[in-house]
């Protein structure tokens, strides 16, 4: 963890990670109150990945996301209210209630949306990268996916294509060790997903995904490479989801010591500790931020809960664009 960034940037990262964590805790709570339809996949514990990567992007860069997408949205700058409203199925949500937790998008900030088909976002990210190339905009695309997704055919096809065409795409593998109840070692014979970069002749790096600055640095290197038209990078971020896979999952397949070890390496705690230790921030400052974020999230919940549901007939809209 190198801390040679301006204080402002560090604190911003801290705040973003906190937003995600508090947001997810609320979603979890609302779920218990039966206010969240369907299912949820929480990002708690993995905040450093989304925030580290998105901090290296500019607003008009793109990202693509997954079933575990709340954190990606927030890190890219999505409005907390509309994100929460979407998760609750409200008309004020980003997708007017059509998408829900697994399909949030905010095209106005380059968040090209979450797909619930594991691995399906990779070729779409390649297309966005190709589009940036053809339109000569200099934009880059960060594509998030899990280590489980890295066994989908689309992983292979997409990275190969992006590499052959030297497209500005950053493939960010969130290796949280499990795909549902399936531990990585049971379904692949390698430890580092980053090694798969060899297949495409591109750089592959493994970083501590619970260290936001490590992620940030790797992402910056990849973004620069992309903007220099040198092609994609595969970044593997080793991290851990603190909750079960989805709402119903008690995650009993994970050894207790493993969970506890990762909780101790909580990315938010770690950054907080560093900020204090290096006297970049004071306890009071950070508490102030925590209070602010907490109240922002309360506002988002209030907004979402009070918003109305879409009218049933709206189900028939948006199938085709009319013009």
């Amino acid at each position: 963890m190198t801390l040679d960034l301006p204080k402002e940037s560090l604190v911003k990262m801290y705040r973003k990670m906190l937003e995600i964590r508090f947001f997810e805790e609320k979603v979890f709570g609302l779920y218990g109150q039966n206010l969240v339809p369907g299912t949820i996949h929480l990002y708690a514990g993995e905040e450093a990945v989304a925030v580290g990567v998105c901090s290296a992007l500019s607003k008009d860069d793109y990202i693509t996301s997954t079933h575990r997408g709340h954190g990606h949205c927030i890190a890219k700058g999505a409005d907390l209210k509309r994100t929460m409203a979407e998760i609750l199925g409200k008309k004020t949500g980003y997708c007017k209630g059509k998408g829900g937790s697994m399909h949030i998008a905010d095209f106005s900030i380059g968040m090209l949306g979450a797909t619930a088909v594991v691995g399906a976002g990779l070729p779409i990210a390649v297309g966005a990268g190709l589009s940036a190339r053809l339109r000569k905009t200099g934009q880059v695309v960060a594509c998030f996916f899990g280590e489980g997704a890295s066994n989908q055919g689309t992983f292979h096809e997409s990275i190969n294509m992006a590499s052959a065409w030297k497209l500005p795409v950053i493939f960010v593998c969130e290796n949280n060790l499990y795909a549902m109840g399936t531990r990585q070692s049971r379904i692949m014979n390698i430890e580092n997903i980053a090694d798969r970069a060899v297949s495409y002749g591109i750089p592959g790096v493994s970083v501590d995904g619970n260290d936001v600055l490590a992620v940030y640095e790797a992402a910056c290197v990849a973004v620069e490479r992309a903007r220099r038209v040198e092609g994609p990078t595969l970044i593997e971020c080793k991290t851990y989801r603190q909750k079960g896979h989805s709402r119903v999952d008690p995650a009993k397949y994970r050894p207790r010591e493993e969970v506890e070890g990762w909780l101790q390496r909580d990315p938010i705690k770690r950054l907080r500790h560093k900020l204090i230790q290096t006297v970049i921030s004071t306890e009071a400052e950070l508490q102030e931020i925590e209070k602010e974020v907490s109240s922002e999230i309360e506002d988002a919940v209030k907004f979402a809960v009070e918003s109305t549901f879409p009218a049933p007939e709206e189900a028939l809209e948006d199938v085709y664009a009319q013009i």
């Binding site: 339809p37 369907g38 209630g97 059509k98 697994m102 055919g153 795909a179 399936t182």
Partner: protein, 324 residues
């Protein structure tokens, strides 16, 4: 008779066939000891039969089906689970071009005794990528059989037939059916493919319904009974082969037909059944054929939106009233 759930009926079928025939094995994502399948159909089977015969796979749908094909043509009887029916799209080549055609292309040299189990259906607010009903795609693939059980009894009997057969079977389940209870005998039985069941006898109108829609049709029929309308409900149980005779026979009796199917209307299951009636039973018809199906939209997430697109009792009753 004892009652068990559709889920348990499926599990019993798997278990009994695995006990009976050592060439039967299961593969799929998280079907094993750590999860037991996303819908718990295979719960406990890994503990009983071991991880080799109840095999967790990577998230690689094409390879899951392709692997099943390779095993099937070399002497095994794989039962592959695709976690959600929507994801069969990822394995469409292996299902439609390989599994379904491998016997034919090679002039009958091989058999491909393979079962692909997958849940379809909306109603649990998991949006466009986890809620579709895509049976019609597979009906349109010669070489596949397509089973669509609506009750625990049918689920068990059809799954056993599927596993024992010599052909690839696309076996459709429905998320909302898993917890439904029904009578299932302790004794061994199987249900032949291509035999519809009249789930309710009636005289005034035929309703052909499949999967979860059978239950909605039954409840609609009960309501209409109070109004003096006698509704016959025919459940094809397999879409391929389709028991055209039973459908035509019922229409011949009632002169009216409503086809109820959860999938999107255009080019869906109900289209084929309507077409069969238009070809083979036109002379018996006293009213136009009616289709009750999902409108042509993806499945939305939010509950009021989702409920709006799923065919319900009201829509079934309305359609029936339009034809009588």
């Amino acid at each position: 008779m004892r009652k068990i759930t559709y889920r348990d009926a499926l599990r019993e079928a798997l278990r009994e066939e695995m006990l009976r025939d050592s060439s039967v094995f299961l593969l799929g994502e998280d079907i094993g000891r750590y999860w037991g399948g996303a819908f718990k159909v295979t719960d406990g089977l890994a503990q009983e039969f071991g991880d080799e015969r109840v095999r967790d796979t990577p998230i690689s749908e094409s390879a899951i089906i392709g692997t099943a094909v390779g095993a099937a043509i070399t002497g095994m009887r794989p039962v592959a689970e695709i976690m959600f029916g929507d994801l069969t799209a990822l394995a469409m080549d292996q299902i439609a071009n390989q599994a379904a055609k491998i016997r034919y292309m090679f002039g009958g040299q091989t058999k491909c005794p393979l079962v692909i189990r997958t849940p379809f259906g909306a109603g649990v607010n998991i949006a466009s990528h986890h809620s579709q009903s895509l049976e019609a795609w597979f009906m349109h693939v010669p070489g596949l059989y397509v089973a669509v059980p609506s009750t625990p009894y049918d689920a068990k009997g059809l799954l056993k037939t599927a596993i024992r057969g010599s052909n690839p079977v696309f076996f459709c389940e429905h998320k909302l059916l898993y917890p439904i209870e029904g009578e299932v005998p302790e004794e061994e039985y199987t249900i032949p493919f291509g035999k519809a069941e009249v789930k309710r006898e009636g005289a005034d109108v035929t309703v052909v319904a499949t999967m979860y829609m059978v239950h909605k049709a039954l409840s609609a029929a009960k309501q209409l009974e109070k109004e003096g309308l006698s509704v016959e409900i025919v459940d094809p149980r397999t879409l391929t082969p389709l028991d055209r005779r039973a459908i035509v026979a019922s229409v011949r009796k009632t002169g009216r037909i409503v086809v109820v199917s959860e999938d999107c209307k255009t080019a869906g299951v109900s289209a084929e059944i309507a077409a069969v009636v238009a070809e083979e039973a036109l002379d018996y018809l006293d009213a136009p054929v009616k289709r009750v199906a999902e409108p042509d939209t993806p499945i939305p997430f939010s509950p009021p939106l989702e409920q709006h697109v799923i065919p319900d009792e009201k829509a079934i009753i309305k359609a029936i009233k339009e034809v009588v």
